[in-house]
Amino acid sequence: MPEAPRLLRFARRLTGEMHAADDLVQETLLRAWRNFRQFQEGSSARAWCYRIMLNTFYGQGRKVRAMPATVPLEDRILVGATSPGIENVEISQALDALPAEHRTVLLLGVVEGFTCREVSEILSVPIGTVMSRLSRARQSLREKLSQSEKVIP
């Protein structure tokens, strides 16, 4: 299970809770094992795992997480695997403030390093939709960052 650490990192971002993230990864890996016959040879196994994870998470009727601003800094660092440092916390906060749709494409396409085509497979949306979502998400993130830069003296 070479993907487990990466899946766990993504799950922590998705759920915002350590235990919930552990449970989500376990469920994802078990589902992947059970449904391995459905995996199409030639496609990306890694993308397939992320797709299962997102389906599991949203299939559980969870609301998309919006990390509360009251979570202490240390917990944020721990949960989000954010590197310490004010700059890093700033961009992490800006990401959390984005709508879920934008946050998800940035996490998959930028942080996890999936191509636009792979993100389109994971989210089951056309590649054109992924590209326009990524453009809007980058634009929103840039705006959030420039707002926070204005606030910080």
Binding site: R9, C116, R138
Partner: protein, 238 residues
């Protein structure tokens, strides 16, 4: 390529998916348009900042992996237990069916006699027949019988004999002939059941048997009524 196209295709460029010929056109525009070049630099720097912030290190997932492996092993074991349980149920059903529908003793003897005959005559599996009187008496002595030639009614003479298996038991197979018909007389140790004479038939095959405290005689073949006549006579001699 114009500025709008650059904006639309930026995600493919930043993810490294852009085809080479398109990338040449993309770079050509960036070299000519300062505004687009700056925008791409800003986006690229922001991506790098995001990665640096969130990819600081991978969390430890060893315990999680071990837990998943354990659960998979457990589920596999449960699967095998289920298969074993289903197999056991099928076996019980098969045994019960056999107990209910298995052929009765008379029918089993028919089957054995028919099988033995088929193996010898049709499948050409020669038996070790003995035709010398002393050899036959030697076999009969196993059942404490003497002068088995005299067990046949008038008109029949002893032709030959052999040892065979009958319903899982060794038996002495004696063949008598009157020149036209042949009658087989099987001798084996008593298997239980009622003493005396009984007859059974299946289609045009008839069997008659006689049983005392020690042995059972079974007659098969011959003309209609010959079997019964044979065992009655043999019983009177014994």
């Amino acid at each position: 390529m114009n500025c709008k196209e650059i904006e639309e295709l930026a995600p493919l460029y930043l993810s490294g998916e852009m085809e080479e010929d398109r990338k040449v056109l993309f770079h050509t525009h960036l070299a000519e348009c300062r505004s687009c070049a700056q925008q791409m630099e800003r986006l690229s720097a922001m991506d790098a900042r995001l990665r640096k912030a969130l990819c600081a290190g991978l969390p430890e997932a060893g315990a999680l992996e071990r837990s998943v492996s354990r659960q998979i092993a457990q589920k596999r074991a449960e699967w095998w237990q289920l298969i074993a349980a289903v197999a056991a149920v099928l076996l019980i059903i098969a045994v019960l069916n056999y107990g209910i529908f298995r052929p009765g003793p008379g029918a089993r003897l028919f089957m054995e006699v028919t099988r033995d005959h088929r193996q010898e005559v049709i499948e050409h599996q020669p038996r070790r027949w003995r035709s010398g009187p002393s050899e036959i008496e030697e076999l009969a002595a196993r059942y404490q019988l003497r002068d088995v030639a005299a067990l046949a009614p008038a008109g029949y003479r002893l032709e030959h004999a052999k040892m065979c298996g009958l319903d899982g038991q060794p038996a002495l197979h004696l063949v008598y002939t009157n020149g036209v018909q042949e009658v087989s007389l099987f001798v084996r140790s008593r298997t239980g059941g009622n003493r005396g004479i009984s007859a059974t038939s299946a289609g045009d095959v008839r069997l008659a048997s006689f049983q005392n405290d020690r042995i059972q005689l079974i007659a098969a073949g011959g003309a209609s009524g010959d079997c019964l006549r044979f065992v009655r006579f043999a019983a009177s001699v014994l």
